[in-house]
Amino acid sequence: MLKTIAVRIVLGIITLWAVSILIFAATEILPGDVASAILGQGATPETLAVFRHELGLDRPAYVRYLEWFFNALHGDLGIAMTNKRVIVDVITPRFMNTLFLAGYAALIAVPTSVVLGIIAAINEGKFIDRFVNIVSLMTISVPEFFIAYVLILYFAVQFEIFPSLSTVFPEMGFIEKIYTTALPAFTLTMLVMAHMLRMTRTSVLSIMSQPYIEMAFLKGLTRSQVIVRHALPNAAAPIISVIALNLAYLIVGVVVIEVVFVYPGVGQFMVDGVTKRDLPVVQACGLIFAGAFVGLNTIADVLAIMVNPRLRHPR
C-alpha cells in the first residue's frame, strides 16, 4: 500500500511540475506587456528597454522559468512588479483567508451533504429523497452571485443579522471572523452541497445492489444500519473524491464570492494581477491554486487507497 501511495504522490508532484511550466508559458503569452502597462504614457523605446532589463524580461524565457521554479521551491515567489511588494508576504495572509473561508464552508457543507445524501439514499424514492434532490438541483441552477445577493438582501440589509462586508483583518478574533464570514460561507456551502449530496446518494445506492447488502438485510438489520454500516464504508472512495473536487473548487473558484463579499482572498489578488499583467503575481497565484488542487486530489486518492481494505490489509 505504501508503494501505491508513494506512486500517487510522485504523480501529483509531476503534475504540479507540468502545471508550473504551463502556467509560466500561459502568462508569457498573455497579450499585453507589463512593461508598457506600467510605463504607460511615458513609454519610450529606451525607457521600455531599461524597464524590461530591470524586470529581467530581456532574458530567455527558459532561464526565467528555471529561476522562478527553483526560487518557488525555496518558497520565494518573487516581487510584485506593480507595487514592489514581496509576493509571499502579501499572498500568505490572503491564502490563509482563502483557506479559512474554504474550511469554514467545508465544515458546514461536507457533513451536511453527506448526511443528507445518506438520508436521501435511505429514503430512496420517498418524498424526502425527491425533495432533497430537487432542491439541490435548484441550488446549482442559479449563479453564485445570485445566491450571494439574496443572502445579503435578507440577512444583511433587511434584517441586519450578518454583515454584508466580510472582510477579515488580522486583529479579529476567531469568533468574530466566524461571524463576519458567515454569509460567504453559507453561499459557498449552498454551491458545493448539491454535487456532494448527489454523489453520496448515488454511491451509496450503487453499493446497495451488492450481495453483502442483501446478506445484511437477511441478518435482520434495519435499513439505516445496512446503509451506514455496510454501504457507506464501501462507497467512501467516490465520496472522498467528489469532496476533494469540491474543496478544490472552494479554494480556487471563489473570485466572484470574494468580490461580492469583499473578502480578501487569493482569487481577487490573482484577478488584479492579471488585469495589471503583473506576471509574478499571476504565476504565484496560479501555482498556489494548482498546488491546492493537486494536493487535495492527491490526498483524496491516498485516502481512497487507505479506505480500501484490500490495499490497507494485504494478504
Binding site: I29, I140, S141, S209, M270, G286, A290, F293
Partner: protein, 277 residues
C-alpha cells in the same frame, strides 16, 4: 403510453412535459413572444403588469419575451457545447481506458493539469489562442467541460474493458476505435446520459460566467444565464427581475434530470432499496 418501449413514471412525464414545453417555446418563439427580443419597450425593471406579464429587464425590454427567445439561444448553445464536450471527453476517456497504461497516464495527467490551472488563466489562454467569438465560446466550454466528462468516461470504460466481450474483440484483432465505438460506447451510455443531463445544465450557467471574457452570447440575443447576470443587481433591491430567468434554468435543470433519472432507472437493475417487501 410508452416511450422507447418503456412506460415513463409520473415524474418522468413531468420532466418530459417541461422539456417539450421549453422546446416548443424555443421553436415558436417568434409566434409566442408578445414583444421583440431586443426592443426596449418600458422602463428599467418595471413591475409585472398586464402589458409586461413578468415586468421588464435592465434596459426596459419585456422579460417574458426575452425568456421565450432566450430558450432558443440557451438550449441551443448548451446543447451544442455539451454534445461537443461529450465527443471530446468520451473519446479521450475511452481511449485512456482501452489504449493501455501509457496512453491512460498521458491523458489522465493532461486532464489533471488542465483541471489544476485556474479557470481565469485557462480561459485567457484559450482566448489569446483562438480569439473571442461564439465558436470560441462553444469550444472553450466544451474543452473545459470535457475534462469532467473524461473522468467519468474513463471510469465507466475501465469497468467495461475487463468484460470478456471486449477481450473477445481484442482477440479477434479489432482496432481500438472499433472497440471503443461498438463494444464500449453502447454499454457506457446510461451513466453518460445521466452526466449529460447535469452537464447540460451546468453549461447554461457556464455561458453566463464566461461572459466577462466577452465569450458570452452576443447582444441583443437573450440567454437565461446572461439574463440572471444582467438583472442580478435588482435582487439587492428586492425586485424579482432575475428570478424569472433563474426559475427557467431551474425548471429546465429539474426537467432534464427527472427524465435522466428515469432513463437511468430503466437501465440499472433496481438497487436493494426496494428489496424488503
Amino acid at each position: 403510453m410508452k416511450l422507447f418501449g418503456y412506460k415513463p413514471t409520473a415524474t418522468a412525464w413531468l420532466g418530459l412535459a417541461i422539456i417539450t414545453i421549453f422546446i416548443v417555446i424555443a421553436v415558436f418563439a417568434d409566434v409566442i413572444a408578445p414583444y421583440s427580443e431586443s426592443e426596449s419597450v418600458g422602463q428599467t425593471w418595471d413591475d409585472p403588469s398586464w402589458d409586461f406579464l413578468l415586468g421588464t429587464d435592465n434596459i426596459g425590454r419585456d422579460m417574458l419575451s426575452r425568456l421565450i427567445y432566450g430558450a432558443r439561444m440557451t438550449i441551443g448553445v448548451a446543447l451544442v457545447t455539451t454534445i461537443l464536450s461529450f465527443l471530446i471527453g468520451t473519446t479521450a476517456g475511452f481511449l485512456a481506458a482501452v489504449g493501455g497504461t501509457v496512453i491512460d497516464q498521458i491523458l489522465s495527467r493532461i486532464v489533471d493539469v488542465m483541471l489544476s490551472i485556474p479557470l481565469l488563466i485557462f480561459a485567457l489562454i484559450i482566448l489569446s489562442v483562438f480569439g473571442s467569438s461564439i465558436v470560441t465560446l462553444v469550444l472553450t466550454l466544451a474543452v473545459l467541460d470535457s475534462t469532467r466528462v473524461f473522468r467519468l468516461a474513463r471510469a465507466v470504460a475501465t469497468n467495461l474493458v475487463v468484460m470478456e466481450y471486449v477481450e473477445a474483440a481484442k482477440l479477434r484483432g479489432e482496432g481500438l476505435w472499433w472497440i471503443m465505438r461498438r463494444e464500449i460506447l453502447p454499454n457506457a451510455l446510461p451513466p453518460m446520459i445521466s452526466e449529460f443531463g447535469l452537464r447540460f445544465c451546468f453549461n447554461f450557467l457556464f455561458v453566463a460566467s464566461l461572459s466577462f471574457l466577452g465569450l458570452g452570447i452576443q447582444p441583443p440575443y437573450a440567454d437565461w444565464g446572461g439574463m440572471v447576470r444582467d438583472n442580478g443587481k435588482a435582487i439587492s433591491f428586492g425586485l424579482p427581475a432575475p428570478l424569472w430567468p433563474a426559475l427557467a434554468i431551474a425548471m429546465m435543470t429539474v426537467g432534464v434530470n427527472l427524465v435522466v433519472d428515469w432513463i437511468l432507472s430503466i437501465n440499472s437493475r433496481p438497487s436493494g432499496a426496494s428489496a424488503e417487501m
